[in-house]
């Protein structure tokens, strides 16, 4: 064990993405063995304690903790290393807090309402994008709604009663609330949040599932169909509490626009009554609506994509796969462990593997994008370090036969997710199956990512359902059920 350095800065807030880059800057320094730069939320304090960093008591979510461990080094070099390390942190943190160059500049606005007031009178179509910590998202979103501006609330951890109030107020003012917990949207080819820029197709999507929508759009784009609009409505919109408030508005808008030949409504497991209400709401209106709830007993998204393609008389392509040249020679265990960044992908993988005959006691799926894992942290699609740490442990477990993970490309996601995964795949004792969500044109490169992971030894699929079936098959081939 080397020397531990811990520094606390009270009241120094930085967003979770900046902190991830600061952690990264530290961790890549040659002298530093392990590092964490984080706000002192309960989750982060727990993680710091697990890593053996002894943080003082009495810290709260607005306090910054810089913690790192130096490798074995002569005393004389350590002081210099700490100084260099702290300097690199300051560079990263300072990069985003520069004030205007001259005092005569108009001061920056600290609220959504302030910026909207300053840009009022502009002709351009407005949308606000809110991704602040969930407990504070309501005020920002309400600013937009009160100003008559549509808002996408990327933040999760927003209390449901705030969501309902926000959506009622928005309906009164004729604007749409996309979210909360809305991971993706595509509006006139502009991708918001975790997003892609597909070709403009004949089909629009209303999605109460971020990664589900990304997956469906990726599949539709492969043969070149793309998508027209993808309006997110938030993961709880079809719940008994929220009752499809935004879904109704989104459907009305797409129907009024009259440019879509088909609308697909994609949702996490919905409340059955709400689904019936929505079906009745659009009954007899054009264009037709295809309902695609996710979960056990439902169609998987690959099936949905194929039906959409066929309905528009497109042929269904062979969904791409990337496989290792050398099959795994070790003899791993018989359990499948799913470690996902996307909740819908996790739900679907579990349903497909179960349908393929994998017994429940050999299947365990974790969604690292769940609210419990994202309090005070960036979403795992941006910062997959928690998921990847778990992968390292799971893949070394002799009981595990397959580790099934997802890699989501696109704007907003990690700039090079393969780079972190390749060494983990190479070191894995178990098979690694990857669902790769993305399309040509994503900044990370679809084929490059698929090939890099396959070269390392992973089985990579564009279709999550195919990946899940492959995972089940890998453990069945060797004396499975």
């Amino acid at each position: 064990m080397g020397t531990v350095h811990i520094e606390v800065r009270r009241g120094a807030y930085h967003d979770s993405v900046t902190l991830m880059w600061a952690t990264r800057a530290l961790a890549t320094m040659p002298m530093v063995d392990e590092a964490q730069v984080a706000m002192a939320t309960p989750l982060n304090l727990e993680l710091l304690a697990e890593r053996g960093f002894d943080v003082p008591d009495g810290l709260g979510p607005t306090d910054l903790v810089v913690a790192f461990r130096l490798g074995e080094a002569p005393e004389i070099e350590r002081g210099g290393a700490v100084k260099v390390a702290m300097g690199s942190i300051d560079d990263v943190l300072a990069a985003r807090t520069a004030e205007p160059a001259t005092a005569s500049d108009v001061p920056v606005a600290h609220t959504t309402g302030g910026v909207l007031a300053a840009t009022s009178g502009d002709e351009t179509v407005p949308l606000a994008f809110v991704s602040v910590p969930g407990e504070y998202a309501f005020a920002e979103a309400m600013d937009a709604v009160k100003a008559g501006v549509n808002v996408m609330v990327f933040s999760d951890n927003v209390p449901v009663e705030q969501e309902v109030l926000l959506k009622d107020e928005a309906a009164r003012r004729g604007v749409l609330v996309m979210g909360p917990d809305c991971g993706t949207a595509i509006i006139e080819a502009a991708g918001l949040g975790f997003a892609h820029t597909p070709d403009a197709g004949p089909v629009s999507i209303v999605a109460a599932s971020g990664t589900g929508a990304q997956h469906l759009v990726s599949l539709l784009q492969l043969p070149g169909m793309g998508a027209r609009h993808c309006l997110g409505v938030g993961s709880r919109d079809l719940s008994a509490e929220v009752r499809g408030r935004s879904t109704k508005q989104a459907l009305d808008a797409l129907i009024d626009e009259g440019e879509s030949e088909l609308i697909v409504v994609l949702t996490k497991p919905p409340d059955p009554d709400v689904l019936d209400e929505l079906r009745a709401y659009v009954a007899g209106r054009r264009p037709p609506v295809m309902w695609a709830p996710i979960g056990s007993g439902q169609r998987d998204l690959t099936d949905v994509a194929e039906r959409v393609l066929r309905s528009r008389r497109w042929s269904v392509p062979k969904w791409p796969q990337w496989h290792p040249l050398e099959p795994l020679t070790r003899r791993p265990g018989l359990a499948v462990r799913g470690l996902f960044c996307g909740g819908t992908l996790a739900t679907e993988a579990a349903a497909v593997a179960t349908a393929a005959g994998l017994p429940a006691d050999r299947l365990d799926v974790v969604d690292f994008g769940d609210d419990a894992y994202t309090r005070g942290r960036a979403h795992p699609m941006i910062d997959p370090s928690l998921r990847n740490e778990r992968l390292a442990r799971v893949a070394a477990d002799p009981a595990v036969g397959v580790a099934h993970v997802d890699v989501v490309l696109g704007y907003g996601a990690h700039p090079d997710p393969a780079a972190d995964l390749v060494p983990l795949v190479e070191a894995a004792r178990a098979n690694v199956v990857v669902t790769l969500v993305g399309m040509n044109g994503d900044p990370q490169g679809l084929d490059e990512t698929g090939r890099a992971l396959a070269m390392a030894g992973a089985h990579v699929f564009l279709s999550n359902a195919q990946a899940a079936r492959h995972a089940a098959a890998l453990v069945r081939e060797r004396g499975g059920p």
Binding site: G60, P107, A147, E188, A189, G193
Partner: protein, 498 residues
Amino acid sequence: MSHGPPYADEDDDRPPRPLHGLIDAAPRVVTAGPEMFAAALEQQGVQVDRVRWRPPLTGTDPAALARVVADARGDDANAAAVARALAAGAELVDVLPAREALGLTGGEFCHAGPPIGWERASGPMRGALIGAVLFEGLAGDAETAERMLAGGSGYDLRPCHSLGAVGPMAGVVTASMWGFVLRDPVHGGTAYCTLNEGLGKVLRYGAYGPEVIERLRWMSRVLGPLLQLAVRRRRDRVGPVDIRAIVAQMLHMGDEGHNRNRAGTMMLVRELVPELLDAAGAGELPAGLGLGDVADVVRFANGNDHFFLNLVMPAAKLALDAGRDVPGSSLVVAMARNGTDFGIQVSGTGDAWFTGPARVPDGLYLGGYGPDDANPDIGDSAITETAGLGGFAMAAAPAIVRFVGGSADDALRATRSMYEITLAEHPTYRVPVLGFRGTPTGIDVVAVVRTGVLPSIDTGIAGRDAGTGQVGAGLVHPPEQCFTAALSALAEAAPPFP
């Protein structure tokens, strides 16, 4: 923050576009949150306007913030409260002893800031109270006075604000002190403030030596009665002096109405001197007073650049009192300090004070004094900032910023940054260098909590030890917990989520 519907469809001839045209064209996006999402949009060629978001003030209860933001009464209540404050007038109608104006008796004293007792009172507050006891003849010497005050009986203490009054620094008011009576002709309110003693060893900074008591006696015997005569003559002949009009003009002459009142003082003297001369010529001076006393009064007022502060303060008080007690409003209606605590009152929460420890101002010190000699922030004079003057009008007073250790750019920045936490721009108080923009007026608790921008107060610094007097001047901010506590109280008064 202004809350118009900036993007509402205004052209009624066109059919309404679904979702205000959201899906008609690639959007322009306002982003609040991590930079990467804004950058990703720009990569795609989307125009992005960034919110410089940061978490609310430390100590903010997120659920309370949401509940206050959700309160459907909020916007209308704030609009109504601030409209009343902006509409309020301020006429100088009389000069009276506090015994008559406030109904104080010999043992009743008012003080600045939120309620406080002897035990927790700071040096200058204690000194001023000792002086008050001596001035009212309740004790023959300082030791006896101090024993009486420490004993806790034989006198009564209450905040000036609770009686519709305001007092600079210690703000101690006794029955025999004289003061200005201002009236708001629009809403009918009345406000009171004592006469300014000048600089140096004075009661409001906690001095209580013989010369201090002697000056107070002269103010009661000569200054008060002569000002009363002038003010009443002016009122009865041509109408009362319009203090609001003088404040508007002083902002055009380099004053900000808190730390610099030079032009305001000259304009007031200009109004009152002819009345005094007329009265003397007509033989109407009070018995025992002559032309020499008139000259002393004019010299005293002219020689004290802060003479007019004691008129700006009650004018501000009138405006904010008009904005009080609007249910659901988060308008700050008072900011005041007693030398130990900083307190605020809010329109939607009645007379409750939300307090935190007063801070030591950051500024420049006179002579050999330094920060160790400074008392924490004291006085009701922050009522000027509450009304859009003082630190909020700093851009109008570039000459003052060197006195408090800043540059002319700092003055512009100070005023500009206050627009983000205020509900309105003052229609009468305007700043020439900002293109005659109205001063930022009407502090919104919710905006302070959300932006983390604290009101900027331009203030004098009192010496820590009783009787030292002024040791400097500088800038100070209220403690954060005043605003987070007020927010929680507003949340409790707000309707629950359905």
